[in-house]
């Protein structure tokens, strides 16, 4: 045995020697990098830029909704022709803003920005791998996303405006150029951009799954994986199954738009003249779209939940409550995600019996979601809570997830949905449960792993200030919005000044808008903190949060290949916090049970015998065994 180990280490030395000599120029190192950490940062920075654009758009249309009489001439330098001479926002551009806000936030920020950043960054670091299974595919994934970003960004500057049929691009609005100025070139660019985006997500997702399954280090069995990795794995599987379906629906839409087929179009009259399209079904598109669209909600949310599990356990200094229940509930949510899509279509005239089936399945999602909610709260219960900004945002996520989820139970009822469909109640619901909650997950992740990403600390006081202002701001925006929705305000309307019933809610609308602007301004604290800390932040220690997972065993400034020397083996799960009898209140995953005899439970003493076996296993080191 020792001879083999000796051979290994000599071999390894030769290899690492070789690796230090591969000189990378600026382009290989920072631009077309195949290093998962650089790609993660590229995703993060791109995501932040998109978030600023996307949220700015929402502020513009919130001003229009809350203060319909205000003079927007001051926006003329930015929006140009979209502001009329009397200082009014162009109604067509209003629709385009709503559409682009949805598209950008759902796909470019909370899918690519969140999954792309943390799956890339944490998967190899937490499972003990040198890099992703295919660095090249990973790089391609980012650059396809970048290409999609450029095309989508370009579409904003079209003379006719970007796509304006809503982020769900229902035909015939999206299929006919006559339907709206944005349905011409704007929609074409939207579809092109999204096709590249899907390719990017598939390349990324395939890589994540392969890496998690094949490149775990010695001893990292599935029941020792941190919950973050479970969440990223399940997210990637969801994407792998649902994005091809979006591609499929987009493909048929492109056929309808450019080749004259009638998949989604039938019996349409424009100015009294019938179009040649016969036999299509617009509802078909909705079925295909929501088969992606609903899993997409969980693609957005699950990474945030995974990050929260990790951050809450670390900062409550307690093992996560119900580790297996957490995995089971994520699997349950993922499974249910594929069989509930029609609850977005209760009012399309579907068979009421079918409606009750989908209602039943939808309401079942409350069960695994509640399991997760309870597990977070019970993990916090009697913990020695450390209120780092990451922890605050994680607790905030739990709060938003619960309060947004509750209204989901109301909306899931097919009868109640008749009243609430396409009102601001829906808008408030999904902004809380998937928008704000996932954004909080993103913030929690950034605050928590910033030291690992950039080797420096963010300012905690500014982080806490950022949390409280955002937390209060988000609730000030979305709680009143539920009332506006129950009152019957439909979403995507340009203004509400011409109806009697809307008059008495005008000040509430104004309040929502002011709260939205307030929350938007609070994000600049984060932006400043983030960019300032990259260059000037306090130097980070190796394990600032005293955490158990493997990424904190790497050097402060992680080099290519993540670990100097060999990859650590794993002997225990990642949640051994405050273990009775232990010297410290945390025992990292790479500490064997034979070194912690004072805190071992009886069954853990038995595991000491297996340590030799784990150590004897292959290193599974990509740098040595070129895959």
């Amino acid at each position: 045995m020792s001879a083999i180990v000796g051979a290994e280490s000599i071999h390894e030395h030769a290899e690492s020697h070789e690796h230090h000599h591969v000189s990378q120029n600026f382009w290989q190192k920072y631009i077309f990098s195949e290093d998962h950490k650089v790609i993660a940062k590229q995703y993060l920075i791109t995501g932040i830029i998109w978030a600023v654009i996307g949220i700015s758009m929402s502020v513009i249309f919130r001003i229009q909704l809350g203060m319909p009489d205000s003079n927007l001439s001051w926006l003329k330098p930015v929006l140009g022709q979209w502001i009329s001479d009397s200082g009014k926002l162009d109604p067509n551009f209003y629709l385009a803003l709503v559409t682009m806000h949805g598209t950008i936030m759902v796909f470019f920020v909370l899918t690519a920005g969140l999954s792309g950043t943390f799956s890339n960054f944490l998967i190899p670091l937490q499972i003990g791998a040198r890099d992703m299974a295919s660095g090249f595919m990973n790089m391609l994934s980012y650059w396809f996303f970048f290409l999609a970003s450029i095309i989508m960004f370009g579409s904003i500057f079209l003379q006719t405006g970007p796509a304006a049929g809503g982020w769900v691009i229902y035909p015939p609005l999206s299929a006919l150029p006559e339907a709206h100025p944005g349905s011409g070139m704007g929609m074409t660019l939207w579809l092109t951009s999204m096709a590249f985006f899907i390719v990017s997500q598939l390349l990324g997702g395939i890589n994540y799954i392969t890496t998690v399954i094949n490149l775990r280090t010695r001893g990292m069995s599935f029941d020792r994986l941190p919950l973050t990795i479970w969440a990223f794995l399940i997210t990637a599987v969801l994407g792998l199954i649902s994005f091809p379906v979006l591609l499929s629906s987009v493909l048929l839409l492109i056929m309808d738009r450019h080749f004259g087929t009638s998949f989604y179009l039938s019996d349409i009259y424009i100015n009294g003249e019938a179009l040649p399209n016969v036999g299509g079904s617009p509802i078909l598109f909705q079925h295909l779209f929501w088969f992606l669209g609903h899993p997409e909600v969980y693609i957005v949310l699950l990474p945030g939940l995974g990050i929260t599990s990790e951050v809450i356990a670390t900062n409550a200094r307690k093992p996560i409550f119900g580790y297996r229940a957490m995995i089971a509930s994520m699997l349950g949510i993922a499974f249910l995600a594929f069989i509930v899509w029609a609850h977005h279509m209760f009012v399309t005239g579907m068979n009421p019996f079918l409606g009750s089936v989908f209602m039943f399945l939808t309401l079942i999602i409350a069960v695994p979601s509640a399991v997760k909610g309870f597990n977070y709260i019970t993990t916090l219960w009697r913990g020695n809570i450390v209120f780092t900004p990451g922890m605050l945002f994680s607790i905030g996520l739990v709060s938003l997830f619960v309060s947004g989820g509750l209204t989901g139970i109301i909306l899931g009822n097919s009868a109640l949905d008749i009243q609430l469909h396409d009102t601001y109640f829906v808008v408030a619901h999904f902004h809380l449960v998937m928008g704000a909650a996932s954004a909080f997950g993103l913030f929690a992740g950034v605050y928590h792993w910033f030291p690992k990403m950039f080797g420096r600390m963010m300012n905690p006081t500014l982080g806490q200030l950022h949390f409280w202002l955002s937390f209060i701001g988000i609730y000030m925006v979305f709680i009143p919005m539920h009332y506006v929705g129950i009152a019957g305000f439909p979403r995507r309307y340009y203004q509400f000044t011409s109806y009697d019933f809307t008059h008495k809610f005008m000040d509430m609308n104004m309040f929502i808008s002011i709260a939205a602007i307030f929350s938007f301004l609070a994000q600049f604290i984060f932006l400043w903190n983030f960019f300032y800390s990259i260059f000037k932040g306090k130097k980070a220690p190796k394990n600032p949060w005293r955490s158990n997972t493997l990424e904190w065993t790497t050097p402060v400034n992680v080099g290519h290949g993540n670990w100097e020397g060999e990859i650590p083996a794993v002997y225990r799960w990642s949640y051994d916090y405050s273990k009775p009898g232990a010297k410290e209140d945390f025992i990292p995953q790479n500490v064997p049970y034979s070194q912690t005899l004072e805190s071992n439970l009886p069954h853990e003493n038995e595991l000491i015998a297996t340590e030799k076996e784990i150590e004897a296993q292959n290193f599974n080191d990509q740098f040595k065994t070129a895959h």
Binding site: A133, I209, T210, T261, H287, N618, F619
Partner: protein, 195 residues
């Protein structure tokens, strides 16, 4: 280098999971293609159930093209066996035949489209016809990608010694080609059943 690793693998216990990541990536890629066609099939069925559906007889040439593609699968498998036995000459021959059969299949599919046009079934028109063109077109597109993979495998076979890495390339190519074959059989039966 590869050989050394192989030897060591025999002596040591199993690693955490001993699956080849590249092959695994291929299988996940196949999952996405399956989902693409599964969604198309379900769209087809949902649309067909709504009525106003043009029914037409599938041109007979699609029967023949199916046979051609099945034959190409057999030659592909022959190539795989030859690669394992290190018989480079026959390997080259087998891959070349597979490639030629693939091209013939594409030509026959194109002829099938022409026959459809003669039957007054057009791409633009009743969705039943449009779907037929989309199904065959999408599959044809994947066949083209399969042909590109075949070209790479052919290049690999020209390297004198079929080592482990080259064998893996042939393996991946074989898996993909069999998959495309199977996919066509599925589409063929599907279109035949629900015309």
């Amino acid at each position: 280098m590869e050989d050394v690793q192989q030897l060591k693998m025999d002596k040591e216990p199993q690693e955490t999971l001993s699956m080849d990541p590249v092959k695994f990536i291929l299988w996940l890629f196949l999952v996405t293609i399956v989902m693409l066609f599964a969604s198309q099939s379900s769209a087809y069925l949902v649309r067909r159930a709504e009525g106003n559906w043009l029914e037409f007889q599938m041109p007979t040439i699609f029967w023949y093209s199916t046979v051609v593609l099945l034959a190409s699968s057999i030659t592909m498998h022959w190539a795989y066996i030859m690669a394992k036995k290190d018989e480079i000459k026959r390997l080259k021959l087998a891959i070349s035949i597979t490639f030629a059969l693939g091209l013939l299949f594409l030509a026959m599919q194109f002829q099938g489209w022409k026959d459809l046009v003669e039957m007054n079934v057009y791409f633009v028109g009743n969705p039943s016809g449009s779907f037929f063109y989309v199904f065959t077109g999408l599959h044809g597109f994947h066949i083209i990608s399969g042909l590109i993979v075949l070209v790479f495998a052919l290049f690999a076979s020209f390297k004198l010694k079929a080592n482990v890495k080259n064998l893996r390339q042939i393996q991946i190519c074989t898996t993909y080609w069999h998959f495309l074959d199977l996919l066509w059989v599925y589409l063929f039966v599907f279109l035949l059943t629900f015309n």
